[in-house]
């Protein structure tokens, strides 16, 4: 099982709740949580990350809206079996566009093209694992 470590950077422009939702989503996609697994309570995760409770609660709400989590009063957030989404053509185009922008940003920041390619190739193993 993958290690369940969540990392955020409070100096980044991306809001903390988006970083938390994004980090948790990555762990859920990787299979770090199985259906029925409990996630930390809003209070405990907020304390470890040093952010406001509402920030974590918002991230949990986003993931619950996407069908990753069930939020139950008194039990906190629980990972659930998620039905595979059926993306439309627009979603796929948006993903392609976002990926290109990310690669362009990496190159603009001076990351060598070979390193970028290496990273993209390493995703192959990740995708196979999900299948």
């Amino acid at each position: 099982m993958a290690r369940r470590i969540l990392q955020i950077d409070l100096s980044q422009a991306t809001p903390a709740y988006e970083q938390i939702a994004s980090g948790l989503r990555r762990l859920l996609v990787e299979g770090a949580f199985r259906p029925g697994d409990q996630l930390p309570t809003v209070r405990s995760l907020a304390m470890d990350l040093g952010v406001h409770h509402n920030t974590v609660a918002e991230a949990y709400r986003i993931l619950a809206g996407e069908g990753w989590l069930a939020l139950r009063r008194g039990r906190g957030a629980v990972a659930i079996e998620r039905q595979a989404a059926r993306p439309g053509a627009r979603a796929r185009a948006r993903f392609g566009q976002g990926l290109k922008e990310l690669v362009a940003k990496a190159i603009a920041e001076g990351i060598p093209r070979s390193a970028v390619k290496e990273e993209i190739d390493s995703l192959d193993g990740f995708l196979r694992k999900r299948q």
Binding site: R3, R4, I5, L6, Q7, I8, D9, L10, S11, Q12, L24, L27, A32, Q38, L39, P40, R43, S44, L45, A46, M47, D48, L49, G50, V51, H52, H53
Partner: protein, 370 residues
């Protein structure tokens, strides 16, 4: 040696030992904090090895030695002049000297302050709240006090109408209690209130403090450190429960003789020495534990130090943490070994009130009802 001479001798030993023990701990403190925190300021760990850092530490330590020696001299003077009320001046001198030395050192370190890393990590594995000894050990101090209360109730008729509760330096009683529910049960209630406050602190450390390091030896050492702190707190609860149960049971003694000061002296000194040794051996956040070298606590290749994941600007005078935006109720002390309250959280104030105000109110109640 007369009874009065005996009491003075015991008191001298107690006060001087207190100053020596605390002086030793204060002397060692700069080396016990996390490697990237120096005199309550976040710094690069390599700053500690610099010439200016060594000079700041040497100056601080010189002042601690000087003020501790003055404190001891004042205690001896108070004893010689037979002014027991002035004994506390020696301890207060040391405290004042420490504050001056600390604030001066902190001021010199501040120009070298560095913004700690904004990266935050959390281990999402279920965190178990483990109170040492489980709920049985946690309930034991309260059970001791309640059994004592029950015993006093069962032997109510054996309690004299007026009994000594406080003794002077000459060993003669100078405070009396009456056989009323408030007079007899006040020490028990005071014990329950104090243990309640300590239990809340223990619970707050276990449930409302941040795990600073995630993974690796540093995280394991931090876990052990937290457990040791919880054990010390539980030990203090037992100490308070036994002491106040004993005080409560004194009502049943027909004699006017005070408790043996040697027992109190040795007990208190022994406990203080053990706690001091453990704190020095552990270091803040477990940084000095055997399996955790100092390097394991350094930034791990990051450019900026991790510190204790609290911003410097919320530390007032380097000692009081007041951050309403931080959900942690307990945070690691910046200049000390252990935890301190985040005074920006309402729960912290509730704990503080229970810990200080309630026992003081119970003590005052006991005094007024005499």
């Amino acid at each position: 040696m007369t009874m009065q001479g005996n009491f003075f001798f015991m008191l001298t030993i107690l006060m001087i030992s207190t100053v020596v023990l605390s002086g030793f701990l204060l002397y060692k403190l700069p080396g016990l904090t996390r490697p990237d925190i120096y005199f309550s300021v976040t710094i690069r760990p390599d700053f500690r090895q610099s010439e200016s850092a060594r000079e700041i530490q040497a100056s601080y330590r010189r002042q601690i030695i000087l003020h501790s020696l003055i404190g001891i001299a004042l205690i001896i003077l108070a004893i010689r002049l037979k002014l027991p009320g002035a004994l506390v001046v020696g301890v207060l001198w040391q405290v004042g000297g420490f504050l001056a030395a600390f604030l001066s050192a902190r001021k010199k370190v501040m120009p070298h302050a560095i913004e700690p890393s904004a990266v935050r990590e959390a281990d999402l594995a279920p965190a178990k709240m483990e109170l040492p000894g489980g709920w049985l050990a946690q309930a034991a101090p309260f059970a001791i006090l309640m059994v004592t209360g029950l015993w006093l109730r069962m032997h109510w008729n054996e309690i004299p109408d007026r009994f000594p509760v406080h003794w002077g330096f000459d060993g003669r009683p100078n405070g009396w209690g009456a056989r009323t529910p408030a007079g007899v049960f006040a020490p028990i209630l005071m014990g329950i209130a104090t243990c309640g406050g300590l239990f809340l602190l223990n619970h707050a450390i276990a449930a409302f403090s941040r795990r600073i390091r995630v993974g690796g030896r540093a995280a394991a050492a931090e876990g052990r450190f937290r457990h040791i702190m919880l054990c010390i707190m539980l030990g203090s609860e037992f100490f308070v429960a036994l002491l106040l149960s004993w005080v409560g049971l004194l009502a049943l003694r027909a004699t006017q003789e005070g408790p043996n000061p040697a027992v109190i002296l040795l007990g208190t000194l022994g406990l203080a020495a053990v706690v001091t040794f453990v704190l020095i051996r552990t270091g803040q956040g477990g940084t000095r534990l055997a399996d955790a070298s100092h390097s394991a606590f350094e930034s791990g290749g990051e450019d900026t130090p991790i510190g204790d994941r609290t911003p410097d600007r919320y530390w007032k005078a380097g000692m009081f943490y007041i951050n309403p935006d931080d959900p942690a109720v307990m945070v690691e002390s910046r200049f000390g070994v252990g935890y301190t309250l985040n005074l920006g959280r309402p729960l912290a104030w509730a704990i503080l009130i229970l810990l200080v105000v309630v026992p003081v109110a119970a003590a005052l109640l006991m005094k007024f009802l005499q």
